[in-house]
Structures are given as structure tokens and as C-alpha cells.
């Protein structure tokens, strides 16, 4: 090394050729870690992009402007309300609804109206540029109508105002949304007070004895039990033992409550712990009892933190599917459930059901359902973050 001819190198006592190999190894390692995180994040982007590309079309639906005649004959046999040549184009679901239309607006009776009519899912898929199966005779009509602007994509109201349906163009998320709301209502009514009380007990009242430690270990284990096993519990205990109605938001909500419990407990404890001891001491100094101090001084201060944790728990419960499948919440539910005792389905379960349907039209609805679900989840999490930021107090 000393004899290297290159003068600049031999002048440099720190010249060390063995290092270049190690440096390139170090560089490769760094690049590897960057690749990892870039991959993980680009997956996130790709995944969300994929859902949006697949789901966006479902927010529009094809309608066609044709003459519809309303009279006794067509009410008795709705097929006859439209021109024969449109029969394989218009949605069966729309025709089926003609009597209801007349009932709602009796002035339609004995008139012929030029109306925007829902078309079936094959025509809709044609309009969206997807694969479709349409006979050439109908295809010609469709092309004509499309060229005249009498066949159009319009905002898909049905998706939000209808429940599930075996007719793709008539299926919507409504009953699943209501099912989700009822189920989560049960979940929060049970899990929130239970979780907060447990946290208050563990943080404020419990002595550090065996029983307390046992409870703590248990909460940790509870959080790690695979969700599907809660479904087994729900099935064996709530349905078979207590005889609660299968597929109902009541059973689903109770099952989810048990799963959400550890999340609420852990975050509530953290929130309680962040309330400084000086607050408690001040309370005792005023001669208040422990319960009064906790109730009037500690809990209000910990409340934002507790809410944050509960919202995150709620979001978790909202996305959960597996245990609900086990207790039967994937039933076909066209009409929204009226109470927590009726059979219902929830958003993720509806997504699951649609994902398994053979008709292609359901794919976009599945993805659109996912978009709705993810939007709600993201909003909930954003709300939790805002709450935390807003009430974050540096003691």
C-alpha cells in the first residue's frame, strides 16, 4: 500500500481500499431498507387505487329514456308497460316497482310518460365499457339510444337507498349500513361502560395483587385471540345457550363488544394514567372521597383520551367480518332491519357476500362498498386524531 505510485493516494494516510467494499455493502443495505418501506407504501397506494378504479363506476348507473304506460293492464302485468323491444334491456326490478310508483303518485294512472328507466346490469356494463352479454338485436337498439343520448349514466341513488338484491342493478348498501349502525350501537353500549369501568378500577382502585395482575394478563391475551374464535363463543353461548336470535345485531354487537373491550381498556388506562397525581392529591386535600375524586376530577380530564381510544375500537369493530359470519350475519337481507332482534347484515359482510357473487356487476359494487367502508373508517380515525390533538394537554 505504501508503494502505490499514485501520489495523491500515497499522500493520504487515510486511504483504505478495503473500505470501499464495506461502504458499498452499507449502501446496499440502506437501499434495501428503503425498498422495503417504498414497497409497503406503494402497495398501499396501488391497493387504494385499485379499489377506486374498480369501485368508482358503481356510483353511476345506466338509465334509458323511454315511454312507459301506466294503466290497469300494465299494473297487472308490468312487462306490458314498455315497448316489447325494450323488455330485455330494462331492469326487472324497475318494472316490478311500477305498482308502487302509481301508488305513490296516482296522477300517473292512465297516462304514458317518457321516463328515465333503470336498465339491466348487462346494459350497464356495456355503458361502462366492461365485458357484457347482450344479443345483437338489443345491442343495436342500445347503440341507437346511446347515440341519441337517451341512454345515459346517472348518479346511482339505488346504491344508497336499496338493500341487497339478487338483481345486481337493484342492490345497494342501505340495509348493511343500518345493520352496521344497529350492531355497533349494541357494541358501544356494552363495551364502552364496561371498558371504562375496568380501566378505572385497574388504574385508580386496584391494589397490585394477584387478582389484578391476572386481569391484566388476561386483557392482553384477550386482545390476541383470533377474531373468528369470538364467533365460536357467540354461537355457542349467545345463540345456543342463551337462545338469542341468530343473525341479529344483538348477538353481533355483543360478540364485537367482547373483542373491542381490550382496546377500550388499554386506551382508557393510558388516558387515566396521563392525568397527573397532583389533581388527585388536590381532591383529597379538599376532603373528597376516592370515588368523588375519580368521578369529578380525574374522569373529565381523561375523557378525550378515552373517547379517542373508543373511536379507534369502534373502527376496529366496524371492519370485523369473521365472527359475524359465524353467527350468521351474512344472510340475504333485502330490507333494512327494524330492530336489534331482526336478522341483519353489516357492511363488511355485505362486501363479502357481493365478492362471492358470479355476476360481474357485483365486482364494482363490492369495490364501491369497500370505498364507503374505508371512507367511514378513515373519517373515524381522523376524528380520533383530531380529538387527541385538540385535547392534548402537556402536563
Amino acid at each position: 500500500m505504501k508503494n502505490i505510485n499514485n501520489k495523491t493516494l500515497s499522500d493520504n494516510p487515510f486511504y483504505d481500499p478495503s473500505l470501499s467494499k464495506r461502504h458499498s455493502k452499507a449502501r446496499r443495505f440502506k437501499i434495501f431498507t428503503i425498498t422495503c418501506i417504498v414497497f409497503a407504501l406503494s402497495f398501499l397506494v396501488f391497493f387504494l387505487g385499485d379499489m377506486i378504479v374498480k369501485g368508482l363506476p358503481a356510483f353511476q348507473q345506466s338509465y334509458m329514456q323511454i315511454d312507459v304506460s301506466y294503466n290497469d293492464k300494465t299494473i297487472a302485468s308490468t312487462r306490458k308497460a314498455i315497448d316489447k323491444k325494450y323488455r330485455r334491456i330494462v331492469s326487472r326490478a324497475w318494472l316490478r316497482n311500477i305498482p308502487n310508483q302509481v301508488e305513490e303518485s296516482p296522477e300517473l294512472m292512465n297516462t304514458t310518460q317518457s321516463t328515465w328507466v333503470l336498465v339491466n346490469h348487462q346494459v350497464d356494463q356495456y355503458m361502462k365499457g366492461h365485458y357484457f352479454k347482450i344479443k345483437s338485436k338489443e345491442l343495436k337498439i342500445i347503440e341507437d339510444m346511446h347515440a341519441q343520448g337517451k341512454l345515459q349514466l346517472q348518479f346511482n341513488r339505488i346504491f344508497f337507498t336499496q338493500g341487497d338484491s339478487k338483481i345486481p342493478e337493484n342492490s345497494g348498501l342501505k340495509s348493511a349500513i343500518i345493520g352496521s349502525i344497529l350492531t355497533l350501537l349494541v357494541t358501544m353500549v356494552v363495551a364502552f361502560p364496561m371498558g371504562v369501568m375496568t380501566a378505572v378500577y385497574l388504574e385508580e382502585f386496584a391494589d397490585d395483587n394477584r387478582w389484578t395482575q391476572f386481569i391484566e394478563v388476561n386483557i392482553n391475551n384477550l386482545a390476541a385471540i383470533p377474531s373468528i374464535l369470538f364467533g365460536l363463543l357467540g354461537l355457542a353461548v349467545f345463540i345456543n345457550l342463551f337462545g338469542l336470535p341468530r343473525s341479529s345485531p344483538l348477538v353481533g354487537g355483543l360478540t364485537l363488544a367482547l373483542m373491542t373491550l381490550p382496546i377500550i381498556i388499554v386506551s382508557s388506562r393510558a388516558a387515566l394514567r396521563s392525568v397527573p397525581d397532583s389533581i388527585r392529591q388536590a381532591g383529597y386535600g379538599l376532603g373528597l372521597t376516592k370515588v368523588q375524586v375519580v368521578q369529578d376530577h380525574v374522569l373529565p380530564l381523561a375523557f378525550p383520551g378515552i373517547m379517542t381510544g373508543s373511536i379507534i375500537g369502534l373502527a376496529h369493530a366496524m371492519g370485523e367480518t369473521a365472527p359475524l359470519i359465524i353467527i350468521g350475519m351474512i344472510a340475504f337481507i333485502p330490507d333494512s332491519p327494524g330492530s336489534i332482534f331482526e336478522a341483519a347484515t353489516v357492511m363488511p359482510a355485505q362486501i363479502f357476500t357481493w365478492a362471492g357473487m358470479p355476476e360481474r356487476a357485483y365486482i364494482e359494487r363490492t369495490a364501491a362498498g369497500i370505498m364507503v367502508l374505508l371512507s367511514v373508517l378513515i373519517s373515524l380515525n381522523a376524528l380520533a386524531i383530531i380529538l387527541r390533538k385538540k385535547f392534548e394537554v402537556k402536563w
Partner: protein, 309 residues
């Protein structure tokens, strides 16, 4: 005076009552764990009274619903094992690499942005992953291998394994990032001052110190993979398949649990009860993994005297 006394007594009773309510609430979590355990255990015992436990563990044929039904769960276990293995093969390097980048190379500002982004992955419902696996990844794999002249199933273990791995990345990266960041800086400095490069320091000093935490994160991820249901229900097969070929369809414990319980079966038939036998195994395995994981993290915390993990 008397009124005062009685008010005080009244208060005392109220205090006791509230305390009692709190203890009761706290005990519900215990009740739940044991509820899960016993509700599964009793039904499983009932199953094993009808069918041989030994054949369940070692038998290779799973054929419920037929006259001569057999319940050998080995092919189900093997399918679960292989899909989990694929998931870990995806999640472990990517999760750990991401954790290393966030804790060692990224600025604190960048880290505080990356971490929540990664955690979005953990917040996506599994049914969504399942749809993605079935509708996007599985066909891609089939097409890709067809190009190579190899036939792959639309329900291949590979598709659900990969997607499951992606789901588990944040489980591993988040906890690993915490433990790697908790390794004292003095150790990095000592190594760098000896003329070590950053990557040598990470590989030889930081990672070995963080190892208990990293193993703990891995076990948690493993437990999550084993219990994952929706991805495999939607993207993996139903067929018990004792094979190493990850392009074939395979089934898992959770898929068979769902399959056994969905639909109108008679509850006390071995077909239905087999779900509880499978559930019992799943419960035990995930519980053991969690207990080891927690013990390892505790050891790590004690070693570096941290309470914040």
C-alpha cells in the same frame, strides 16, 4: 347530627357499591377469555367423544358431510402452515426493513409521517384484503405462471399468503421500530467510533440487542396469520391438500371452521362440532405464541429499563 351520620353512611354504601360495580366490570374480561375457552372446549370435547383425537391430529383425510365422514386434520394444518409461512416470508423482511429504515435512517420528522401511513395497512378490514387477494392478486398469479408455462390455481396458497403477508407488515414494523429505537444510542456510537459502517453497526450491534423484541413482533405476526380468516376464506381453497406446491389450492383451519358453521347444519353433528375442535387448536397455539411474545418483550424492557413499549 343524626342526619349527617346517616348521610355519611349513605355515602359509604355508595362508595362500596361503586367499587363493587367496577370490580364486576373488570372481571368481565376474565369471564370473556374463559367464556371463549370453555365454549370452545366443551364443544370440542363433545367432538372428541364421537371421533378419535389421535386421528384428528394425524389423519390425512378430511371428509365431512358424507356417510363415512373422516376428520383427519393434518392436511388442514399443513395448508395453514404453508400459507402462514408465505405470509411471514413476505412480512418479516419487509416489515423489519421498514422498521430499520424508520428507526435508523429516517429523520424523526419523516419517521413520524411514515409510521401512521404504514399503520393504515393495519386498519384496513381483512375482508377488503380478501377481495383484493381474490380479484386482483390471484388472477395475476395465474397469468404470471401461465406465461412461465406453469399452471397455478385461482385459489393458490401463494395469493392468499402474499396478501396476508402485506397485512402483517405493520404488525412487525411497528413493534420492531419501537424496540430498535429503544436500543440505547451509546451502543451505536461505540460501534461507529470503532470505524464500523452504519449497516455493520445495525446488523451486528443494534439488531442483536433488539432481537427479543423482533422475535416477539414476529410471533405476534405469526399468531395473526394463523387466526386470519377473511383473506383465506375469500382467496384460498376449501380442499384439504397435503402438498408443498404453493401454486395449488389449499385450505386452512379458519376456512374449515367457517365452512363447517355457515349454513343450516344440525348443531350437534360431528360436522359442525369439528369446527370447535379446530378452534381449540387455534386457540391454544395463538395463546402460547402470545404468552411467549409478551414474556420476550418484558425481558427486553427489563434489560433496557423502558416502560414505554
Amino acid at each position: 347530627m343524626k342526619a349527617f351520620e346517616s348521610k355519611k353512611r349513605h355515602n359509604e354504601i355508595k362508595e362500596q357499591l361503586i367499587k363493587f360495580t367496577l370490580i364486576t366490570a373488570a372481571s368481565v374480561s376474565i369471564l370473556t377469555t374463559f367464556g371463549v375457552l370453555f365454549s370452545i372446549l366443551f364443544e370440542a370435547i363433545e367432538f372428541f367423544q364421537m371421533r378419535s383425537f389421535w386421528y384428528f391430529i394425524t389423519g390425512t383425510e378430511w371428509s365431512p358431510g358424507v356417510a363415512d365422514s373422516k376428520f383427519g386434520a393434518l392436511p388442514i394444518f399443513s395448508g395453514t402452515f404453508i400459507i402462514t409461512l408465505i405470509a411471514m416470508a413476505v412480512a418479516l423482511p419487509i416489515g423489519l426493513g421498514s422498521a430499520i429504515f424508520m428507526s435508523e435512517y429516517a429523520s424523526p420528522k419523516l419517521r413520524s409521517k411514515l409510521k401512521p401511513l404504514l399503520e393504515i395497512l393495519a386498519g384496513i378490514p381483512t375482508v377488503v384484503y380478501g377481495f383484493f387477494a381474490a380479484i386482483t392478486v390471484a388472477p395475476f398469479i395465474v397469468n404470471f405462471f401461465t406465461l412461465l408455462g406453469v399452471q397455478a390455481s385461482f385459489n393458490s396458497a401463494l395469493a392468499s399468503g402474499i396478501v396476508m403477508g402485506i397485512m402483517i407488515i405493520p404488525v412487525i414494523s411497528s413493534l420492531s421500530d419501537d424496540v430498535i429505537s429503544a436500543v440505547p444510542d451509546s451502543q451505536r456510537k461505540a460501534s461507529l467510533a470503532l470505524g464500523m459502517t452504519m449497516s455493520e453497526t445495525i446488523k451486528n450491534i443494534v439488531l442483536p440487542s433488539a432481537l427479543p423484541g423482533i422475535i416477539s413482533a414476529t410471533l405476534l405476526g405469526l399468531s395473526k396469520a394463523l387466526g386470519e380468516t377473511m383473506i383465506v376464506v375469500m382467496a384460498a381453497g376449501l380442499r384439504p391438500n397435503l402438498s408443498w406446491n404453493i401454486l395449488e389450492d389449499m385450505t386452512t383451519v379458519t376456512v374449515r371452521i367457517v365452512d363447517a358453521l355457515v349454513g343450516d347444519h344440525e348443531f350437534n353433528s360431528p360436522d359442525t362440532l369439528s369446527a370447535f375442535a379446530l378452534g381449540l387448536i387455534l386457540f391454544i397455539v395463538t395463546l402460547v405464541l402470545n404468552i411467549i411474545s409478551v414474556a420476550l418483550i418484558r425481558k427486553f424492557k427489563e434489560k433496557y429499563k423502558i416502560n414505554t413499549l
